[in-house]
């Protein structure tokens, strides 16, 4: 299975949300990282055939996914960023309804939704109305519905948004469990979500793939070094102005900083191995929080 994107572009009334993206996905977990407004959601919606590209093509094993239509979507599982549901349906009915539009036979749907509710810890909530669920449980239902048709391609847009740290960890473990032999594309702006589970990372900036590769490969190619130093409070303010600072922590003897710089920013600064978070900071700087949530 190979999902191939070739010069995929999407324009919205003068705004280019996705700009000539080309890449190839095979089985494995891919983390799509980028600040809000980078174009992640638009790219994912095109991969789910919800939006047609303005230019370029998306092919699965050499066939256009829009021409494949239902046959392509039968192999797809999708959790949108804004996971909408029917508030007055019970969890069980909701999953059975989604199973039906995914083309599962009623008996298979009942069996599959039962298995997945067990996997995601939703059995006790099966008879509860969707509107009575907590945010975390709704997210779990979202993940469950994406898996109903045992998809080969799983697209998860900000799946951990609104989850508490414990639930995020549970989600990561669940994803590791189900990712085998599938193509999983996971979009997030929370670096730790993908750092441990994604084999490949794609950094998306201004509608383009700015960089891609494994965590190690990407961090090793980072042109800046990472330095840890402890400085007096007044000096810390000056360093904050001059450098990209990945972390600040108050320490007994002053302020501990994690700085991205070519050379040691102060004498006594110790080099540290770069992490994905450092790379994120290097790539996106102080961006983020733009009013482009859905782009």
């Amino acid at each position: 299975m190979e999902l191939n994107l070739s010069n995929v572009t999407k324009n919205f009334k003068g705004l280019t949300a996705v700009d000539r993206v080309s890449c190839t996905f095979g089985p494995g977990v891919y983390g799509l990282l980028g600040v809000n407004g980078a174009g992640k959601t638009t790219l994912m919606r095109m991969l789910c055939t919800l939006l047609r590209p303005s230019a370029g093509s998306i092919e699965l094993d050499g066939q256009d996914i829009f021409s494949l239509g239902g046959a392509y979507r039968a192999r797809l599982g999708y959790l949108p960023q804004d996971f909408g549901f029917y508030p007055d349906l019970t969890v069980r009915d909701y999953l059975l309804y989604i199973s039906s539009i995914k083309g599962l036979r009623p008996a298979t749907a009942r069996q599959r939704s039962g298995e997945l509710m067990e996997l995601t810890g939703l059995q006790k909530a099966a008879g509860r109305k969707m509107k009575r669920l907590s945010g975390g449980m709704k997210r779990r239902v979202g993940i469950t519905q994406a898996l109903l048709n045992d998809p080969e391609i799983l697209i998860l847009d900000e799946p951990t948004a609104g989850l508490d740290p414990g639930e995020r960890i549970r989600f990561r473990n669940l994803l590791s469990e189900i990712a085998r032999d599938r193509l999983v594309l996971l979009s997030t702006h929370i670096v730790s979500d993908v750092e441990y589970i994604a084999g490949q990372i794609l950094l998306m900036k201004d509608g383009r793939i700015a960089a891609s590769g494994t965590v190690e490969g990407l961090t090793s190619r980072m042109p800046l070094g990472v330095w840890r130093c402890v400085v007096p409070h007044r000096q810390a303010e000056e360093l904050l102005r001059r450098y990209k600072v990945a972390n600040i922590r108050a320490a007994a003897e002053g302020t501990e900083l994690r700085i991205l710089a070519e050379r040691a920013p102060v004498s006594g600064a110790e080099p540290e191995p770069p992490t994905l978070e450092d790379l994120f900071l290097y790539t996106f700087g102080g961006e983020g929080g733009k009013d482009h949530d859905k782009i």
Partner: protein, 403 residues
């Protein structure tokens, strides 16, 4: 899929409220129709409601069958006998032949719209026997030299006279309160219930976007084909199912309270159809026709509502559409513009008011010298729309792009 779409429809508080409203409309119609029924009783008092119906049912057995010369003569003779026996109090004893007497009161009058309650007192049995001929003469005068000459074209007048001449004579009469109330009340009930039925499906398409569930819907395997068809099917099944349930409940309620007799009697021998009716129908046939017309009407309204729901992704707008024909009727009725008034004939409400549509006063469609009464025209017009709208709805919604 369809089953879950219907489940989604009925899961909301608004839908449950709409179902309660339908029940309230049914009960209100039953109460108002039966309560308004009255007739003079044997004790010199006015009977009302079920009591009146029971009395009419009992005494009108004597005037059941073909309203032929013998029956007409018998009614006049009986009327004369009662007048002689009771004088001014005779009216309390005439309920048995009241339907036959009323037809004479509408017929042996100088002009089409006149009514003379006491005409039977002045008729001889021989004159009464000419009831059918007099009816046609009355209509002819109205259309050729009376007020009708300005309202109907020559082709329309010729059509009316041809159809009137073809009405069965003698017509079958008898106690028909059950069937008459069934058809009349059902029309009233549908005027009120049809927007509620259409309201039920107003969120069928638009709620997907309102709940932000459209992305999942369209990215599913059947999201662009079968699932959309299931939505259309769910809407049509819900509306037609509830419509039939409402109609059949109404029929069982009315006929069990007022009696099933009279299903074979002629609609043309009833007051509402006697002078202007164009159709040879029994009450049972008229009810079946009413069921078919009502089904076309409610399906059209529901489809229009669903189309707005799908096109604009707005449940409030779609819900407002459900009430649009009713508002248009009120608006056009209040207008003095004749062009607008002609539009009244074309509104789907006509499909609910069968009693009115059986009359030539419901208007005609004339193309060249060919003339058609509005009832079949409305049935074909809205019937074709009902067939054409589902594919349009399907094509419109399956091409939607979620935001």
């Amino acid at each position: 899929m369809t089953r879950y779409e219907i489940k989604k429809l009925f899961s909301t508080a608004g839908s449950k409220l709409a179902l309660l409203l339908l029940l309230a409309i049914l009960l209100y119609t039953a109460f108002s129709m039966i309560h308004d029924m009255s007739c003079p009783g044997p004790e010199g008092d006015m009977l009302q409601g079920l009591e009146a119906a029971a009395f009419m049912r009992q005494v009108q057995q004597d005037y059941t069958g073909l309203m032929d010369e013998a029956m007409l003569r018998r009614a006049v003779e009986e009327n004369a006998r009662l007048n002689a026996l009771y004088g001014d109090n005779a009216m309390w004893y005439k309920t048995a032949f009241a339907p036959v007497r009323d037809l004479m009161s509408w017929t042996f009058v100088p002009a089409y719209r006149d009514f003379d309650y006491s005409v039977i007192d002045r008729l001889s049995p021989g004159e009464a026997a000419g009831l059918y001929e007099r009816r046609v003469a009355l209509i002819r005068d109205y259309l050729q030299t009376g007020a009708g000459a300005a309202l109907y074209s020559r082709s329309e007048a010729a059509y009316i006279l041809r159809r009137m001449g073809a009405l069965k004579a003698p017509a079958a009469v008898g106690y028909t309160k059950g069937w008459d109330t069934l058809i009349q009340g059902s029309g009233l009930m549908l005027i009120l219930a049809s927007p509620v039925l259409a309201y039920l499906v107003s969120g069928l398409f638009s709620q997907e976007r309102a709940l932000r569930a459209d992305a999942l819907f369209f990215s599913s395997r059947h999201g662009r084909k079968k699932a959309v068809a299931a939505k259309v099917k769910a809407g049509l099944l819900t509306v037609s199912g509830l419509y039939l349930l409402l109609e059949l409940t109404w029929a069982v309620l009315v006929l069990s309270l007022l009696g099933t007799e009279g299903g074979g009697c002629s609609v043309q021998a009833n007051l509402f159809s006697w002078r202007s009716g164009l159709y040879n129908l029994s009450f049972f046939e008229a009810w079946l026709l009413h069921l078919a017309c009502g089904m076309i009407g409610v399906l059209f309204l529901a489809l229009l509502t669903m189309l707005v729901s799908a096109a604009f992704d707005s449940t409030p707008l779609a819900a407002a559409t459900a009430f649009l024909p009713m508002l248009l009727t009120v608006f056009i009725s209040a207008s003095s513009l004749s062009v607008l008034n002609r539009l009244l004939y074309w509104l789907p409400e006509g499909l609910f008011l069968l009693r009115d549509e059986l009359s030539f006063e419901a208007g005609f469609l004339q193309l060249g010298s060919a003339v058609w009464p509005m009832l079949p025209v409305l049935m074909v017009f809205y019937g074709v729309l009902c067939l054409a709208l589902p594919p349009c709805l399907y094509q419109l919604y399956r091409r939607k792009q979620p935001r």
